[in-house]
C-alpha cells in the first residue's frame, strides 16, 4: 500500500532530476510474460471445462450408439415361408409340428436321411407349431386347404441372417454347423427365408427361446405397477405438499417432517425394496411378484419427489393471490383448492411426470419383492405375477444367447424412448405454462 502511494506520489510530482518518464510496471518484459502465462492458464481452464462437457456428451453418444447398434436389428425377425397342407387328420391329432416339417422338407427334396432332416427341423422355431395352431383356431375353414404361411425361424438362423455369425470362420469356432448355414443359404436364395417386422417382440411374454421372447408381458406389468404408483403417490404427495406449504404451522414437528422428506428422497432405492419385502410381503402377507406390491414400493419411493416438486410449485404462487381470495371471504381451504392449487398445477404435473419416469426406470427395489421371476403369461390383474420392463432387461442381460443381447438392447431402446417422451412432455409443459409473476 505504502509502496503504491509512494509511486503515485512520485508519478505526480514532477522531478527535475529525471528527464525520462517513470517506467510503468505495466510495460515491463516480466509483466508481459506474466500476462501471457495468465492468459494461457485462462485458455487451458476454459478448454478443460469444454473438454469435460464434450466428454459427457461423447459418453452419452457412445452409450446410445452402442445400444442402437446392438438393438436395431431386433426389430426385424427372420421368417420361413412354407406351403402347409392342413391335412384334417393331422390337425385333429394336433400334429402341427409334423405338418410344418413336411412342408419344410418340400424345400429340400434331396435331403432324405435322418441326420439331414434333423438339421432342417432345427431351422424352425420351437414356437412355430403354436403359430400354426393359433391360425387354424382363428379360422377353422382353413383345414384341408394348402396355405402359404411365414413362420418364425430359430434364433440361430435369425442371427445368421442378420450377420451375427461369421461365415468365414471354421465350423468349430462359429458355433453354428455348416449344414445349417448351407440349408439357411438355400432358403435365402429361393426367397423362402426373409426378414419382416418383429411383432413378437411387442406382443409375447418372456420365453427361454429368444425368438419367442417379447416384452409384451413386461410392458403390461410396468403399466399396472405405474398405475398403482400413480394412484397412490400423486394424491398423497400433493395433499402432503399442500398441508406442509399452506397450513402447517412452523414448528419443530413440521421441521422434522421436512428434514425427513428431504432425507427420504436420497435414501438408496434398494432400501425401499427391503422395506417392501419386510413389511408388505413379510408382515401383511401380500403376494410376491405382484404389480400391487411393486406399485406400493414405487409409490413410497416417488412420494418425496412429488412432495418436493409440488411444494416448489406452490411456493411460486404469489401471496397476493391468496390474500385476494381470503379478502373476498373464501375459507383457507377454498383459497387453496380454488385458486392456489390450479395455478400451481403445471409445476406439480411436471414434477409428477418426472417422478413417474423415475419409477418406470427403477429396478433394484423390484428385485427384492420378487418381480424378477420368469413369467411367460401376460398379467391380467394387480395381483398376478408380473415383471416390469427394466427387470426384464436385467434378466435378459444375463442370458448368454446372442439373440437375447439384441433383444435386451431393443427393450432398452423402447424404455428409453418412453422415458424421453415423458421427460420431453415435462419440459414442454414447463415451457407452455411457465409463468413469471
Amino acid at each position: 500500500m505504502t509502496d503504491l502511494v509512494e509511486q503515485d506520489v512520485a508519478a505526480v510530482t514532477p522531478s527535475p532530476a529525471s528527464s525520462t518518464p517513470p517506467k510503468s510496471r505495466l510495460r515491463g518484459e516480466a509483466f508481459a510474460r506474466r500476462l501471457r502465462a495468465r492468459h494461457a492458464a485462462e485458455r487451458r481452464f476454459r478448454l478443460a471445462g469444454a473438454a469435460a462437457v464434450a466428454l459427457a456428451a461423447l459418453i452419452l453418444v457412445l452409450l446410445l450408439g452402442s445400444i442402437v447398434a446392438k438393438g436395431a436389428s431386433a426389430f426385424l425377425e427372420a421368417r420361413i415361408r412354407l406351403e402347409v397342407t392342413l391335412d384334417p387328420a393331422e390337425v385333429a391329432d394336433r400334429n402341427y409340428n409334423g405338418l410344418l416339417r413336411r412342408a419344410l422338407y418340400a424345400h429340400f427334396p434331396q435331403v432324405t436321411d435322418r441326420a439331414g432332416r434333423r438339421v432342417l427341423n432345427d431351422l424352425l422355431s420351437s414356437g412355430a407349431p403354436y403359430e400354426l395352431e393359433a391360425m387354424v383356431a382363428k379360422d377353422p375353414a382353413l383345414v384341408g386347404t394348402t396355405q402359404t404361411v411365414w413362420v418364425r425361424a430359430d434364433d440361430q438362423i435369425d442371427q445368421l441372417v442378420k450377420g451375427g455369425y461369421r461365415r468365414d470362420l471354421p465350423e468349430s469356432e462359429r458355433g453354428l454347423s455348416d449344414a445349417k448355414v448351407a440349408a439357411a443359404d438355400a432358403l435365402l436364395a429361393s426367397g423362402a427365408l426373409a426378414q419382416g417386422f418383429n411383432t413378437t417382440l411387442f406382443t409375447a411374454g418372456d420365453s427361454r427361446e429368444p425368438e419367442q421372447a417379447g416384452i409384451g408381458g413386461a410392458i403390461v406389468g410396468s403399466l399396472l405397477t405405474l398405475l398403482v404408483t400413480m394412484a397412490l403417490s400423486v394424491p398423497v404427495g400433493i395433499s402432503a405438499a399442500v398441508y406442509l406449504e399452506e397450513f402447517a404451522p412452523k414448528n419443530r414437528w413440521t421441521d422434522l417432517i421436512e428434514v425427513n422428506i428431504n432425507n427420504l428422497a436420497a435414501v438408496p432405492s434398494i432400501i425401499f425394496g427391503l422395506l417392501g419385502l419386510a413389511v408388505f410381503l413379510g408382515f401383511f402377507g401380500m403376494p410376491r411378484s405382484a404389480p400391487l406390491v411393486g406399485g406400493l414400493v414405487m409409490a413410497l419411493m416417488t412420494l418425496p419427489v412429488i412432495i418436493i416438486a409440488s411444494r416448489v410449485a406452490l411456493k411460486a404462487v404469489p401471496p397476493s393471490i391468496r390474500e385476494a381470495a381470503l379478502g373476498i371471504g373464501a375459507s383457507p381451504l377454498q383459497t387453496v383448492l380454488h385458486h392456489v392449487l390450479p395455478l400451481a398445477m403445471p409445476g406439480i404435473l411436471t414434477g409428477t411426470i418426472i417422478g413417474m419416469a423415475r419409477a418406470l426406470g427403477e429396478t433394484a427395489p423390484l428385485l427384492m419383492i420378487g418381480m424378477v421371476a420368469f413369467i411367460v403369461d401376460i398379467p391380467h390383474g394387480l395381483t398376478d405375477s408380473a415383471t416390469v420392463l427394466p427387470v426384464q432387461i436385467y434378466m435378459w442381460a444375463d442370458s448368454p444367447e446372442r439373440a437375447f443381447t439384441e433383444r435386451t438392447s431393443a427393450a432398452i431402446l423402447i424404455l428409453l424412448g418412453v422415458l424421453i417422451l415423458l421427460n420431453g412432455a415435462a419440459v414442454i409443459l414447463r415451457k407452455i405454462f411457465e409463468r413469471r409473476w
Binding site: 476454459r46 445400444i67 427420504l264 425401499f272 381451504l333 426406470g361 433394484a364 436385467y394 432398452i412
Partner: protein, 460 residues
C-alpha cells in the same frame, strides 16, 4: 369379486349421498339457498363423507385383520402337536394352510388335519368376505341416512367438511414419516434377528464373507461366514473410482456451463445432461457389462495387465458417468448462487475469469460443492444395478481396480433374489447390510443437506 362389488357399491352410495345432500339442502330452505350456512354442494359432500368414510375405515380395518383372525381361529382348532414348536414349523404350517386354501399344490401329501384346516380357512374367508360386504354396505347406508338427517339451514356443513379434509391432509403428510419409521423398524427388526445368530462385531469387522449356508448340518462349511469388511472395501473401491470420474468432469462441466457457455450452448447442454441423468440404472449396468468391461479388459490386456472380466474399474467408471449429471447440476446451482458482486469485485482487481473462478467463486461455493460431492457419494454407495450387473459376486479384499470386487448392494440384491426361507441367517444378513447402508447414507445425506441449507441461507 366381492372386493370389486364392494368398491362399486361404496362409490355408488357416495355419489348418491352427494346428490341427496345437495338437493335436500336446497329444498330444506325452499330453494332460497342464501339462507343456508354453506352452499348446497358442501351439504352434498357432507352426506357423501358420512356415507363413504366410516364404511371405508371399517373396510380397511377388517381386511387388515381378517386373514390373521381366520388363521388364529383355524390354528386354535388344530391339535397342539401341530401348532406348538419353533417359529419355523408354525410358519410352514401356516404357509401350507394358505396354499391349500388357495388351491396351490404344496408338492407333498397333506396331513388330513391340515387339509381340513385349510378347508375351514377357505370357508371362513369366504363367509367373512360376504359378511364384510353386508356390514360395510349397511354401514354406508346408515351413514348416508344419518348425514341426510342432519341437513338443515343451520348445519355448518363447510367447516365440518373442511375439518375432515384438513385431517386427511395431515394424514397424507404423515405418510412420509411413516415410511421412514417403517424403514427403520423393518431394518432394525430383521437385523436384530440376524445379530442374534451372528455377533455384530464379527459382522462389522470380520474379513471373510461367504453367506452360503448348507442345507444339512453335516455338510462342509455349514455355517456361513458373515464378515462384511470385504464388501465395505469393495464398495469403497468402486465409489472412489466413480468419484474420480464424476467429480472432476461434473465440476468442470458445471463451471463451464455456468461461467463460460453462452445462452445458446446452455439451452442444448442442460437437456443433454438431463437425458444422461434420466437414463435408468439398468441401462448403465448393461452398458458396463457388455461394452465397458470388455473394453477395459482388452485395453488392459494390450498393456500386458491381468484384468478380470468383471473388473471394479469398469463398474466404477460407468457409475461415475451416471453420477456426472448429478454432480454437475448440484454444483451448477451452488455456483449460480454465488453473488455476482464477488465476481465483479475480483474482475475489478484485474483478475482473469479463470482466476476469479478458482480463487473467488470456488472457495465461496466450496461448502455447497462439498455437500454435492457427499450426496454423490451417498448415491454411489447406494447404487445397485450397475454393480450387480458389472461387478462380481466374489468377496475379494483388494485395492486393485482391475480385479472383481463385490459391494454391499450387490450382496443385498443377490441374497434376496429368488425364493428363500425368511429365517436363515443368509437372508437376514441382507437386512444387516441394509441397515449399515441406510445409516451410512443417512449420515451423509443429513450432513450434506444441512450444509446446503445453511449455505443457501448465507447468500439469500
Amino acid at each position: 369379486m366381492q372386493l370389486t362389488l364392494l368398491a362399486l357399491i361404496l362409490a355408488l352410495l357416495t355419489v348418491i349421498g352427494f346428490l341427496i345432500g345437495r338437493s335436500r339442502a336446497a329444498s330444506s330452505v325452499g330453494g332460497r339457498v342464501a339462507e343456508l350456512h354453506s352452499v348446497p354442494s358442501y351439504h352434498g359432500v357432507y352426506v357423501a363423507l358420512w356415507a363413504g368414510l366410516p364404511a371405508l375405515l371399517l373396510f380397511v380395518a377388517w381386511t387388515a385383520s381378517e386373514g390373521w383372525l381366520a388363521m388364529q381361529l383355524v390354528l386354535s382348532a388344530l391339535p397342539d402337536r401341530l401348532t406348538t414348536g419353533d417359529g419355523q414349523s408354525v410358519g410352514l404350517l401356516k404357509a401350507d394352510i394358505l396354499n391349500l386354501a388357495h388351491g396351490i399344490a404344496t408338492g407333498r401329501e397333506a396331513d388330513p388335519l391340515v387339509a381340513e384346516a385349510a378347508r375351514r380357512y377357505a370357508a371362513f374367508r369366504d363367509l367373512a368376505d360376504w359378511s364384510l360386504l353386508a356390514v360395510v354396505a349397511s354401514l354406508a347406508v346408515a351413514g348416508l341416512a344419518w348425514g341426510r338427517h342432519r341437513i338443515g339451514p343451520d348445519l355448518r356443513a363447510r367447516p365440518a367438511v373442511e375439518r375432515v379434509v384438513r385431517v386427511a391432509l395431515v394424514v397424507c403428510s404423515l405418510v412420509a414419516i411413516l415410511t421412514t419409521v417403517g424403514i427403520v423398524l423393518s431394518l432394525l427388526f430383521e437385523a436384530l434377528r440376524f445379530f442374534t445368530v451372528v455377533s455384530p462385531l464379527d459382522f462389522l469387522f470380520g474379513t471373510h464373507w461367504s453367506p452360503q449356508t448348507a442345507m444339512r448340518a453335516d455338510q462342509v462349511g455349514s455355517s456361513g461366514s458373515f464378515g462384511a469388511i470385504p464388501l465395505f472395501a469393495g464398495t469403497l473401491l468402486i465409489t472412489v473410482i466413480a468419484m474420480l470420474v464424476a467429480v472432476p468432469v461434473g465440476l468442470m462441466a458445471a463451471i463451464y456451463m455456468s461461467e463460460y457457455a453462452g445462452r445458446g450452448v446452455r439451452t442444448w447442454l442442460k437437456p443433454a445432461l438431463e437425458i444422461l441423468a434420466g437414463i435408468p440404472t439398468v441401462v448403465y449396468g448393461f452398458f458396463a457389462a457388455l461394452t465397458m468391461a470388455p473394453f477395459v479388459r482388452s485395453v488392459g490386456e494390450a498393456l500386458g495387465l491381468d484384468v478380470s472380466s468383471e473388473s471394479a474399474l469398469a463398474a466404477g467408471i460407468v457409475m461415475g458417468v451416471m453420477i456426472i449429471p448429478f454432480v454437475s447440476s448440484l454444483s451448477d446451482d451452488v455456483i449460480n448462487a454465488v453473488p455476482q458482486s464477488l465476481r465483479d469485485g475480483s474482475y475489478g482487481l484485474g483478475a482473469t475469469k479463470s482466476e476469479t473462478i478458482r480463487q473467488v467463486v470456488l472457495p465461496a461455493a466450496l461448502p455447497g460443492i462439498v455437500a454435492a460431492v457427499m450426496l454423490a457419494v451417498s448415491r454411489a454407495i447406494g447404487e445397485t444395478m450397475i454393480v450387480t450387473m458389472a461387478s462380481g459376486l466374489t468377496a475379494n479384499m483388494t485395492a486393485n481396480p482391475l480385479q472383481a470386487v463385490t459391494t454391499v448392494t450387490t450382496q443385498i440384491a443377490t441374497l434376496l433374489v429368488g425364493d428363500q426361507e425368511f429365517d436363515s441367517p443368509k437372508t437376514l444378513s441382507a437386512f444387516g447390510l441394509g441397515l449399515v447402508l441406510f445409516l451410512v447414507t443417512l449420515c451423509l445425506n443429513m450432513v450434506a443437506l444441512r450444509v446446503v441449507r445453511t449455505y443457501r441461507e448465507k447468500y439469500d
